[in-house]
């Protein structure tokens, strides 16, 4: 029974009737790196949240070294040797490294904190892990990767037996990734079990011992890494029904609509010399690794970033998109990546959320807003996009992620845009709702709107775009015809400007 350090057995969890996890398993051996894979929405993070007591499972059991347990919160888990290093680091950045590591359990000497003991303990901890940082540095002087290492060290200082790393490399440079892997290997040699969550295939093959794959809340399988190759993992993750995940592309790209010439941003992260053309009714995908400048590119087009140089032409006429207001005036719309922080007004109702970008056009004769036409337009949007809601008065925070996204797309459609910039339009949305968003995007393109869509999900780019532009380290690495390309070509383009640049940046 003690084969496994951590066992998760027959875990199930539903949210409002939808099964997010259906009888899934995970078994992690001591001294191994166990990769947990699956597309966004496959149930990985729900599984982890159940493990850490943030969600209560409907059924299923957890075992640590053969003992059954149920953690009540992350702190309880931490004290029992199970910890998680989150993508968003939860740290007190104004304080020093050792203050953060020993927070909540400072060593004392009489009435005072024993700074010397704390410093010494931090040094010993870092020496064990091969981390070269002065514990007296403040966290806000560190890079993200260094802060991450501090967080890992903190987990180790709690005598962690299991450490969960959630997308740990998403904002690291190649060099930093290598340092992280060194630490992971040290932890493994100390007998720690590591659950590694990542989308990056090369990392999975470099660092893992075993891989468990989830798909749509189902357990697909666990295999030793030796028995796997990339194709096999992708098959497990995506399944065979890839063809049915996307609606047919019925839009037909026409003449050139927008021409972008040598766009370069003024402040970092830098976009350098990006030029391309967008056809009317076309869906142009933007691919690239995290940090390649995809979001920054659409923000630059929309005037949310300051340009150093470069021009934008619409139908051959040069336009000025230096601010968001001007861009909206030029019939641009930007759907932001972070729906929660920059898109939603959570406590406001659907009407407010739908009409806020276009509120000026609802002014009546004496400048007061016309509630009736606002309500009418909102109801039209609800019908057209099949938004599931009891009424237009509902607070938007009560809708599901997919329906929230539809409301926000609807908001921009009410401004009657010509060019839609969509940044990760299906992030955090369940599979069924994704299909509807795809259909919506294709319909818009068919009506003659031109769409630029940023996505980190390769299948959806290949599934619904006409062409894909690949960004690499702030530059355009190439544009490919979606019908004629494959994942390897896109991946190679994404790496194009990465090799020399990391050194150049340092």
């Amino acid at each position: 029974m003690h084969d496994y350090l951590l066992g998760i057995e027959s875990l199930s969890k539903s949210f409002s009737g939808i099964k997010v996890l259906d009888n899934v398993h995970l078994q992690v051996r001591s001294g191994t790196v166990h990769s947990l894979m699956g597309e966004n929405g496959a149930g990985k993070s729900t599984m982890m949240k159940c493990l850490f007591g943030i969600y209560r499972q409907d059924s299923g059991r957890f075992f640590l070294e053969g003992e059954e347990f149920n953690f009540i919160d992350p702190k309880h888990a931490l004290e029992n040797g199970v910890s998680m290093v989150h993508q968003e680091l939860n740290q007190v950045t104004q304080r020093t490294i050792s203050d953060n590591i020993w927070l909540g359990r400072y060593p004392r000497k009489g009435f005072f904190v024993d700074e010397k003991a704390m410093y010494r303990a931090s040094r010993e901890l870092f020496a064990r892990l091969g981390i070269h940082l002065d514990p007296n540095l403040k966290l806000d002087a560190l890079s993200v990767s260094q802060r991450q290492m501090v967080e890992i060290a903190k987990a180790v200082s709690y005598e962690a037996k299991i450490i969960v790393l959630d997308e740990p490399t998403s904002s690291l440079t190649d060099n930093e990734v290598r340092m992280l892997f060194d630490i992971i290997r040290v932890l493994r040699s100390h007998g720690v079990g590591i659950i590694y969550i990542s989308h990056k295939m090369d990392e999975i093959f470099e660092v893992s011992d075993e891989v468990t794959v989830l798909r749509d809340g189902q357990y697909i399988g666990t295999e030793a890494i030796e028995n796997l190759d990339m194709e096999r993992i992708v098959n497990m993750m995506v399944g065979r029904d890839l063809g049915h995940r996307f609606p047919p592309r019925t839009n037909v790209p026409g003449e050139i609509h927008m021409k972008v010439s040598k766009i370069t941003t003024k402040y970092s992260p830098i976009i350098r010399d990006v030029s391309f053309e967008l056809r009317r009714g076309e869906i142009l995908g933007i691919s690239g690794l995290v940090g390649a400048g995809r979001t920054e590119l659409v923000e630059s087009l929309f005037g949310a970033r300051t340009l150093e140089s470069g021009e934008i032409y619409i139908d051959g006429r040069k336009i000025n998109n230096s601010t968001a207001q001007k861009s909206i005036g030029n019939r641009f719309a930007l759907l932001t990546e972070e729906r929660r922080s920059t898109g939603l007004y959570p406590v406001a109702d659907i009407t407010f959320n739908s009409t806020i970008a276009n509120v000026k056009s609802y002014r009546g004769a004496i400048g007061l807003l016309d509630d009736k036409s606002m309500t009418r337009d909102t109801e039209t949007q609800i019908d057209n996009m099949r938004i599931k809601t009891p009424s237009y008065k509902e607070q938007i925070r009560d809708l599901s992620g997919g329906n929230q996204q539809k409301v926000i797309i609807g908001r921009w459609l009410l401004t009657d845009p010509d060019i839609l910039l969509l940044d990760e339009p299906t992030r955090g949305i369940d599979v069924g709702a994704k299909f509807e968003i795809y259909q919506l995007i294709i319909n818009l393109a068919r009506e003659g709107k031109s769409v630029i869509m940023v996505s980190s999900e390769m299948p959806e780019l290949i599934g619904i775009t006409n062409r894909i532009m690949v960004m690499s380290n702030g530059r355009m690495a190439g544009i490919v015809e979606t019908e004629k390309t494959n994942q390897t070509e896109i991946f190679n383009l994404a790496m194009k400007y990465l090799i020399n640049s990391t050194e150049a940046e340092i």
Binding site: V92, F112, V113
Partner: protein, 350 residues
């Protein structure tokens, strides 16, 4: 030193700019002081220095109280009324036996420090309630202490009306009480006047030292910075967020109690409007001294610098005969500029 000089020589224009921005508020203050000295060189005297330090003392003690709360991402509007409460309690218990309008006509002479404890008891009680309300109900400290400010005014009035002397300021202080605010530890002649080290300055220095130790050397102090910097991180690391929050308010209460006790002695009387508006001076001094409203950042030295700056500026401007109304304008501008510069340090351009 050579290293420093080398660094200065090799700095780029951008780095110079950053250095200027980081220290701009100090440069502005320096410029104002220099202007004052040029206008009236007599400003550079021991007598003036003593006055400035004395006037800063009570303000500093109060500023250190609210500083802890600001570090917790909060603020305290009730500070002025806390001072009023402590002042009225202290003064009412420390009147001369031969004074005509005594608050407690039959009260024997009490040891001079005892009323301070009574005052502290009062301010700690109410400040702890504020802290509990903030921590328990997650009410923004601005609102919680706005409520407390109003409550306290009522409490002070009720207490004041209980006095036998009727509705008149509580004056005629015991000579030992007065001595605390006017006495000096050592005295000597300089430039024709007697100067020395006032007790008030010694008390403020001792309080600053104790607070420095608490903030920097104790678990409570470190927890205060952690809760202020990132409450969620503190919570998952097992810090008692509620206990820490209440303790910070209790500490503030202690300092308000001391401050109010000294303020009544300094002024020579107390009435319900004693301390009115002091919270704004204290908060402004903290902010100018770099104690950030975004929480988790702030030093004792910052509070000292902030308080001294304001005192120097107002004393200096009065010294050269600038009308008070102009002083208000200058002080107001300094507050806003200080905050703008502070924010600029953290601003990211896109």
């Amino acid at each position: 030193m050579a290293k420093f000089a080398h660094k200065l020589r090799t700095m780029t224009g951008r780095q110079w700019m950053d250095l200027l921005v980081q220290n701009a508020i100090y440069l502005v203050i320096l410029a104002i002081i220099l202007t004052i000295i040029i206008l009236d060189p007599r400003f550079l005297s021991l007598r003036v220095l003593e006055n400035i330090l004395t006037q800063s003392s009570v303000r500093l003690i109060l500023a250190l109280g609210v500083a802890g709360i600001i570090i917790l991402q909060g603020t305290d509007l009730s500070l002025g009324r806390m001072v009023g409460l402590a002042a009225v309690i202290s003064a009412s218990l420390l009147q001369r036996q031969d004074y005509a309008g005594r608050f407690y006509p039959n009260l024997e002479t009490v040891p001079v420090l005892l009323p301070m404890l009574a005052a502290i008891f009062g301010t700690v009680l109410f400040s702890a309630i504020s802290g509990w309300v903030v921590a328990q109900f997650k009410i923004h400290p601005f609102l919680a202490t706005l409520g407390m400010m109003t409550v306290l005014y009522g409490v002070i009035q009720i207490y004041f009306d209980m006095g036998a002397g009727g509705a008149q300021p509580i004056g005629g202080h015991d000579r030992f009480y007065t001595a605390i605010s006017t006495g000096r530890l050592v005295e000597f002649s300089a430039g024709g006047t007697r100067v020395g080290i006032p007790y008030l300055v010694l008390i403020a220095a001792t309080v600053s030292l104790v607070i420095w130790v608490i903030w920097n050397k104790t678990v409570f102090g470190k927890n205060m910075y952690a809760v202020g910097g990132n409450p969620d991180a503190a919570k998952v690391s097992g810090v008692n967020v509620m206990g820490t929050t209440i303790m910070v308010y209790v500490m503030a209460g202690i300092l308000y109690g001391i401050g109010g006790y000294l303020e009544a002695a300094r002024i020579g009387s107390a009435n319900p409007s004693t301390g009115f508006g002091y919270e704004l001076d204290a908060i402004a001094a903290c902010v100018v001294g770099g104690i950030s409203f975004s929480g988790g950042i702030g030093k004792v030295s910052g509070a000292i610098a902030g308080v001294l700056m304001f005192t120097i500026i107002s004393y200096g401007m009065t010294f050269v005969g600038l009308e008070q109304y102009y002083q208000y304008i200058i002080k107001g501008v300094i507050i806003v500029v200080a905050v703008a510069l502070d924010t600029k340090k953290y601003l990211r351009r896109v």
